[in-house]
Symmetry: C2
Subunit: 342 residues, 2 copies
Amino acid sequence: MKLCMIGHRGGHDKFVWDGLARMPHVRVVGISAGTPEDDVAALQTHCEALGFTPEVFVDYRQMLDQLQPDVVSVCGPFELHAEMAAEALRRGIHVICEKPVALTLEQLAMLRTVYTAARTKFQGWYAGGLHFAAFMNLRYDPAFYTAWRAVRDGAIGKVRLINTQKSYKLGHREAYYQDRATYGGTIPWVGVHAFDWIYWFSGETFTSVYATHSAQDNQGNGSMEMSALCHVTLSHEVFASASIDFLRPATAPTHGDDRVRVMGTAGAIEVRGGQVYLINATTEGEVELPVACERQLFQDFVEHIEGQTTALLSADDVFAVTEACLLARQSADEGRVITFGG
Amino acid sequence: MKLCMIGHRGGHDKFVWDGLARMPHVRVVGISAGTPEDDVAALQTHCEALGFTPEVFVDYRQMLDQLQPDVVSVCGPFELHAEMAAEALRRGIHVICEKPVALTLEQLAMLRTVYTAARTKFQGWYAGGLHFAAFMNLRYDPAFYTAWRAVRDGAIGKVRLINTQKSYKLGHREAYYQDRATYGGTIPWVGVHAFDWIYWFSGETFTSVYATHSAQDNQGNGSMEMSALCHVTLSHEVFASASIDFLRPATAPTHGDDRVRVMGTAGAIEVRGGQVYLINATTEGEVELPVACERQLFQDFVEHIEGQTTALLSADDVFAVTEACLLARQSADEGRVITFGG
């Protein structure tokens, strides 16, 4: 299986490297920075370490045409995710793309249309159909995966209420974080994970969203929002909050403080500090679940393509969650509740 | 100092008994159930234990006229809080009232008007003026008080984002919880504490609120909401969430799971499980603060009246917070963002 890689912004290409170490039949045949401002040095270093000697391209389109890879990973500039993914999909190439896969609703609509058309056009090529996924790495995090499995297995009954939290250290941010056009905003960039948890844990569909965000006290980072709060309503009157911030102090023990709390009709489960806490009728007080995830993001993606498994993440999931966070950003910009499909 | 007590619904009269044990100069002179459906047995038992022999009245108004107490505590049926408090205030009697002090915006407007007029009318009677407060007991909880003090002392810089949580066991609920007219709804009844934290910790004013609530899966409890989510915007783009539910499993170690997380420009503080966790530039990682509160709710109320202190809770605080939770309930009922003063 031939893999091409475009860019490494965001750093999630590390999940590709981790996956490649487990799958010797997948080879990196081409790399491209995807943009003149970035370089491929980091990609080259990783390739050397794994024994690959990929061709290097300035123009990623030329790479796709010339090498005709089976799979491409897209980690280019954020504002080019949708375009880069679409270029590959139009050529019948499976895509795994950095999140968010689109920075605007227009980009998302284009990508969805391209994917739908490409799935039909190339349906004869692949048993499982043309695949599209995103680096939603937290689905494969041992704690979140364990909690999700427990919820799916009925540990808390029907899901009624979800609280999610993404809290990051600000640190030093490159210039492209300072501009909505190249960053996309904190709700899509950070919050997409929270929206994914909400969608994934609830098993419901999005109904409406209300959100606010603020760039106050952002230490000179342009329009970058430091705090955001989203209020999501899903089918069956399930409610969910997403609290998002870059206010985690530099002295905190970890970069991020990721949390999910899910309240059901027959129990409560919480992920906090990498641990999973469960209370239900079978527990005495609160119990800590052993955490584990046997699946790896890129391996799951490849094995889905090969028809060996159904990946944790589908293209439809990616589109639904991306739409949700872009509508949340719109809600925050416009100060109003936004209804899905409205 | 003469105290009369009306009713004991909600159980917060326990803060009066605790306070009385510290203040031998305050005597219970009269008690009334406040309504024919309730009785005074519980009040009588407490009075006997403390050596009081109060007169018992069927009509609380008659009690106020006849005994002319300095102070009255109001714990009658929820829907009568505002009326009972107003009757006392009109007579120049200080009032400490169960929360929420009003179940409707009309009741709240009436109570505010009565209090304002009474403060003017009776300003010569009391050094500190006629006082009105509510049983917002969590301001006196060691953990929440310690966290609030730390925030006020600048431990986290400017407050930017607050997440609050009230999660209760459902247990068995009396019939008056099943009807909006006698219960008021879960957002005011439970959520008032969360709105109080938001107001108290932020030091900001309420700007707008959006909320949702659901009575689904409420185990036959009429219109009682089992889950609610509130999204509050305050001055200076400070955002706050209030997650409220009766979904805490019966096997949980405590009745309630009360939490506050406050993110500031220079630190983060959290109250969880009765402990306070702080991270800022002076801490190595996260530190646990020793928790303590030297103030007692009813004692603070009495000492405020006596001019010995400024109570943690003012009448204006009570009105602002009650209005906020009633507008949040309205938002949830009507499905729209509500602007304060709009």
